[in-house]
């Protein structure tokens, strides 16, 4: 790639770091923004946990700063609790995990792993980030509009969301930006993966991470537009006075609503979940990809059943489009429809189990290196297992009906997303940090971060499962204090809250480690400090503009570790044996 005319002139600060078209800079922009949003979203829930553990008591220290509109005399109003809940969900999913998993890791790692000089459309890539950021800022600004941020839950179910305060309109406009951003990203990832693989890198030589990103991109491409449509319809409802989601004869505060009526609140649920179920797989597939890379590298052996993994992830992608109504069993659907969705839901669990089993079996007989990325990846396996298994009762109507809308549901999906996806994403940060900066993150701080996080996460989410089976409903601003049947499990509210704050404290170790290791971390010797086989480790550290000094040719499968008869225990994909 050297010698072409673009390399010669040095770019100015703005083009190099702000409006950059380099996939690595964009990946870092996404990553840092997403980590900030993740922390912010987590702060929101730490506030909520105070209200749940100590209902209506003044919040210590920061309570008086939050303003009389939300927390008069330091105690949280239920409306503010609702805002925090809705925005916690929105921020964690759309501004935290997805941009980190896809925007950051996908952007930074995918072109390196396939031996490409950049993404197929570098300028679209930049536009994608610059649609994402305004979307996020609109969400943040909405906290300051009259009535506060969106407060109808992250699912924004009408009719409630239709008649909610102005924050909801901001939420919808913000979502349109975020959807545009992920659409641009998805097109880019698919074209890049299909067109720009290095010579010799056939589809079945791709690292598992690239497959995960490819399937994820198809989900983003095809599942997000229906939500965009739904968002447009809800904007019309709120701004132009239409009644797409408003049924006839709706009465609010004793006054009949002055609208045409005849709409259908269920329509929103269908459009929303048509996005949001594939979205679950958008959250988990890149995480599985990251874990696959780390497990293969740190067990020093090929992933077990690579082709099965690939076929499973493709099948998972297809199936994720036909399970959405299992979120809606309580809407009074007929038995024929619910049987269909129960069946597809049971079927989709099969490829997930195959993937998880393959990753576990990959450990068998490996000489495992227990470094920090591997610890996080190993933590992912049982935690995602719990998340997946607790989902089965929710996929069958007989057990879903009593559990629906309880804390059990919250416990279930947090097991998938927090100790599941997030642990895997942390693993990815620890794993690729030396490639980006040339230095390792601190091993000791990383281990404190890992053990602290996994213990306190279980303290939170396992208690949720117990509370949910005790019948405590979600979205109650007092944590169930007014319900007599919640009494026996109410003490868990304090367990959960203290675990959540503890989890917050352990994240400080990560933040400190993240920033300080950049200058003070142990230096990573050579370009391939983990002795990995994939192409991302065969570039200079940090990879220069254009990534490779010469485009590599690929000869081998992605995980050629511990080949018999070789001196070193790994064979990079681009080394001719």
């Amino acid at each position: 790639m050297s010698g072409s005319h673009d390399d010669h002139h040095e770019l100015g600060f703005w083009r190099k770091y702000v409006f950059s078209t380099d996939h690595k800079v964009i990946g870092l922009q996404y990553g840092i923004t997403a980590l900030c949003f993740l922390f912010f979203g987590f702060c929101l829930v730490m506030l909520m946990r105070w209200q749940l553990a100590y209902p209506d008591m003044p919040i210590p220290i920061i309570g008086k700063w939050l303003g009389a509109g939300t927390t008069p005399e330091g105690a949280m109003l239920p409306e503010f609790y609702n805002s925090l809940g809705a925005m916690h969900g929105t921020i964690m999913v759309f501004l935290g995990v997805v941009p980190l998993a896809v925007g950051a890791f996908g952007n930074y790692v995918l072109p390196l792993q396939i031996g490409a000089p950049d993404m197929a459309f570098p300028r679209l890539n930049m536009a994608s980030y610059w649609c994402f950021l305004p979307g996020g800022l609109i969400m943040l600004v909405s906290f300051f509009v009259p009535g506060g941020a969106a407060n109808s839950g992250w699912t924004s179910y009408p009719p409630l969301a239709n008649i909610a305060t102005t924050g909801q309109t901001f939420w919808l406009v913000g979502m349109v930006f975020l959807i545009t951003s992920s659409l641009l990203g998805a097109v880019n990832f698919i074209v890049t993966t299909l067109h720009m693989r290095a010579p010799g890198l056939t589809m079945f030589k791709l690292p598992f991470f690239v497959w995960a990103q490819l399937v994820t991109s198809f989900l983003l491409l095809l599942a997000f537009p229906p939500l965009e449509a739904a968002g447009v319809l809800q904007i019309m409802d709120r701004v132009a006075g239409t009644s797409f989601f408003l049924p006839s004869g709706l009465v609010v505060d004793g006054v009949p609503l002055d609208v045409a009526g005849g709409g259908s609140p269920l329509l929103w649920q269908h459009l929303f979940w048509f996005l949001a179920h594939p979205e679950v797989y958008v959250l988990i597939l890149p995480a599985m990809g990251i874990v696959g890379e780390i497990v293969a590298c740190n067990t020093r052996k090929p992933l077990f059943g690579y082709k099965t993994l690939v076929y499973s992830i493709i099948f998972l992608g297809f199936m994720s489009f036909v399970v959405w109504a299992h979120h809606m069993f309580l809407t009074g659907m007929g038995t024929a429809i619910s049987t269909f969705f129960q069946t597809t839901t049971m079927i989709i669990s099969i490829p997930s189990v195959i993937i998880l089993s393959n990753l576990v079996i990959s450990l068998w007989g490996g000489s495992i290196r227990f470094n920090v990325p591997m610890l996080f990846a190993l933590g992912f396996l049982p935690m995602f297992g719990i998340g997946g298994l607790t989902g089965l009762p929710l996929g069958l109507t007989a057990t879903d009906i009593p559990l629906h809308d309880t804390y059990y549901v919250i416990g279930h999906f947090h097991y998938v997303v927090a100790p599941g996806s997030l642990l895997a994403l942390f693993a990815g940060v620890y794993f690729w940090y030396p490639k980006v900066t040339g230095r390792f993150m601190s091993e000791r701080l990383g281990k404190i971060h890992f053990w602290g996080s996994i213990i306190s996460m279980n303290g939170i989410f396992f208690s949720m499962l117990v509370q949910g089976m005790g019948g405590v409903s979600r979205r109650l601003a007092d944590g169930g204090a007014t319900y007599a049947y919640a009494e026996p499990v109410l003490y868990l509210n304090k367990v959960m809250s203290h675990s959540a704050w503890l989890l917050g404290i352990f994240q400080l170790f990560f933040i400190y480690n993240f920033f300080v290791s950049r200058k003070k971390g142990k230096e990573a010797v050579g370009n391939n400090p983990w002795q990995a086989t994939t192409l991302d480790w065969q570039t200079p550290t940090p990879p220069p503009h254009g990534n490779f000094s010469e485009i590599p040719t690929v000869y081998h499968d992605p995980y050629e570790y511990s080949l018999p008869g070789r001196d070193d225990d790994y064979l990079p994909q681009n080394v001719e044996a």
Binding site: A120, V187, F224, P226, F244
Partner: protein
Amino acid sequence: MEIPYTVEANPDTGLNNPKLGVWLFLASEIMLFGALFSTYLLLRVNDPAWPKGEDYLSWPIAAFNTVVLITSSVTVILAWGNLQLKKPDKARIFLWITVALAFVFLFAKFYEYNLKFSHGYYPSTNNFLAIYFTLTGLHGLHVIGGIVVMGYFVGPGFKMATERPQQFTNRIEVVGLYWHFVDLVWIFLFPILYLL
């Protein structure tokens, strides 16, 4: 640094990057309009008193607009064909005609909207008008998007036709695909809103 397959086709897919990209984009657009068409169906089957299109809308304007859009789809093809024949000047004329026809469509649509408003028909009047304004409004935004892109190619972007003719031809082909899609959406909108 050079991105491969920006101009020439990739041997695996037989497409270059922009063309594969625009097909993927159109796939997502189909999901967007598909969701809205589903909404239309659902609202319609749930409402026994769903009005006929002619109760509110006048089909002659829409029929005129259909002809305008189909003609513009032809002219954008002619522009592309002339670029392939290395006749950029002629291609430019056809591009200008395409943009002009897009404007004609928008003016007719604007006139139609105005007519509705003057009769007191608003999106809030009933669900038929609501979905009418939403679908045609979103389609109108797509027409505006096409005007912006083609306006750029026929104006400041046209110098590429002589500097990098192959890439410019590809660009017109790609925007042409998008424009056909916009046309196609209208061909569905016309019967379901005006005729049925």
